[in-house]
Symmetry: C2
Subunit: 320 residues, 2 copies
């Protein structure tokens, strides 16, 4: 949907540029010779990820595919060309088969042109280790924290290997678990993507409607949040004494009042485990069209990771 | 829902305070003797309005009612007591019968205590002039611009009459028009609030599901936006040469990608009328639970109104 990319550029004419021939959005001031360039893309339908995450301290460019489809390799390649700086380009890719293929091939094409490129895969979803839909764990809302840290490091002048190291470190201490109350409806399909009866919820759903761990009857919010927190916290595992960033992310159709309910319950359940919340994020960061549901993301903070999200950043929407 | 107010305070412990005995949220540093205090409240279900609009440059306190119900007078009165400063208190009230009654009575009670109070009614919705549901025009998403201007003026040290004047001026040049694709579902009801068939849309819907001007068959986005822009622009009327703030507000269930589509179409249709967009707002500002739909708000900018939203402000969520 070109309008989805054109809109943020119209609303931010000084900082963002829409490039219609490649249907991508980029910083007006890219390429910046003094910083590593960051590029993302994935299927559309997850906004504000990633097309509304372009800006200072965040992405240099984003090139989405169609709804829930990876962007074509040649367009990723053209995107890299447009923002490539002498310090190199980091591709941040959620871990799905199609996205991996598109970005790995784009990396090869760019390297043949002499551009320095590295690719970091993000795989924060604890729900499913492997399935017919995935190659290892999926990348979901935790993507935001990896991007925010890499964006800050790049602005500080870190080189490509250092930005890659920081992103990998954040990814390694980030865990997400989601749940859905309803399916989503892709515009081209016009009907729900999968069948989820009114009296069932899907625990561990993927952001493209991939099956989760199981379906169950609706439960009190406290119990649902306990299941999300437990799955995410036990996976790393997070331990008593840890300090974390806590994100309550909406999947598209859930009112922010309910996200704050989820946030508050998770906050207290973490406190009961001896885990303190050091940074808080409540809202829509990575959606699945109009799906009603949410995810909980935990990031273990240390001195290095805590400081990075405090650096200035600005995008079309304010999400941090 | 107490959790909805407790969550923002938990996430922002340095700046926000939840007061359980009155189920309200307020700035930690209120009352500030050097500024006019701003108070809002309305039915719940419109978040981030108003409970997530408390903070520097915005509200001093918010006390919501139940879903789509005005807050009880005595709680509004207690809220005013908590934040009352020697410079006075401005109550910002969307124009609905229940809210008018609750806040007007709270003003009387507070004045009897010697507190200086004024009440400003906001009525930006062009859809319905009067009906069995309303007392004159309704207040909807344009509330944000009135609040933002009053908040900035109060921080700058303006006195009560001046803050009231600025708020009234912004309200007088603000026009909003909304539409719904689906009804919303209040949690206590558990089913859609009104019946809107899949093959109909409601033009001019209210944020509590009040009937609009008419129902029609779904049309291309361009035509729907044209109807919203025309209704809002012709009402003031906005004229060629005007410079406006343009808001594309989501009603709760509409993905932000679609809001940017609406924004872009409105931007170009305004340009065709010779109206330039000077400030842009895309996202959820005033919702109706999980309703799928949107509204367009136009504000005529002049030198005074343009500058105010540039002042610093901070709330639980970043909406400006």
């Amino acid at each position: 949907m070109p309008e989805m990319l054109e809109g943020p550029a119209l609303a931010n004419p000084d900082s963002l540029r829409y490039v219609p021939e490649f249907n991508l959005i980029m910083r007006s001031d890219a390429p910046d010779v003094d910083k590593v360039a960051l590029v993302q893309g994935s299927g559309s339908g997850h906004e504000p990820a990633h097309v509304m995450s372009v800006g200072r301290g965040m992405l240099d460019a984003a090139r989405p595919g169609d709804v829930f489809s990876a962007p074509p390799t040649d367009y990723v390649y053209e995107t890299v060309k447009l923002v490539a700086s002498p310090k190199g380009v980091l591709l941040l890719v959620n871990n799905y088969t199609g996205d991996r293929m598109a970005f790995e091939m784009a990396q090869e094409l760019s390297e043949a042109d002499g551009v320095r490129v590295r690719t970091l895969f993000i795989d924060d979803d604890v729900s499913v280790q492997d399935s017919t839909c995935t190659v290892g764990r999926r990348g979901v809302a935790g993507n935001f924290f990896v991007l925010r840290a890499c964006g800050a490091a790049a602005e500080r002048g870190a080189d490509l290997d250092e930005v890659y190291r920081i992103g990998g470190k954040v990814n390694s201490v980030t865990r997400t678990r989601g749940m859905a109350l309803t399916a989503c409806t892709p515009p081209a399909k016009g009907s729900p993507l999968f069948d989820l009866p009114d009296d069932e919820i899907e625990m561990g759903v993927g952001i493209h409607g991939e099956p989760g761990r199981r379906r169950e009857k609706p439960a009190p919010a406290r119990d649902i949040v306990a299941e999300l927190v437990t799955a995410a916290a036990d996976d790393l595992p997070f331990a008593p004494g840890d300090r974390v960033a806590l994100m309550a992310n909406g999947l598209g159709g859930t009112p922010i009042g309910e996200l704050y309910l989820v946030y508050g319950l998770a906050y207290r359940q973490l406190a009961d485990r001896g885990i303190a919340v050091g940074r808080s994020y409540v809202g829509e960061y990575c959606t699945s069209l109009d799906m009603a549901g949410c995810s909980i993301t935990l990031v273990r903070l240390d001195d290095e990771i805590t400081g990075l999200p405090e650096d200035p950043a600005s995008t079309a929407i304010r999400v941090f």
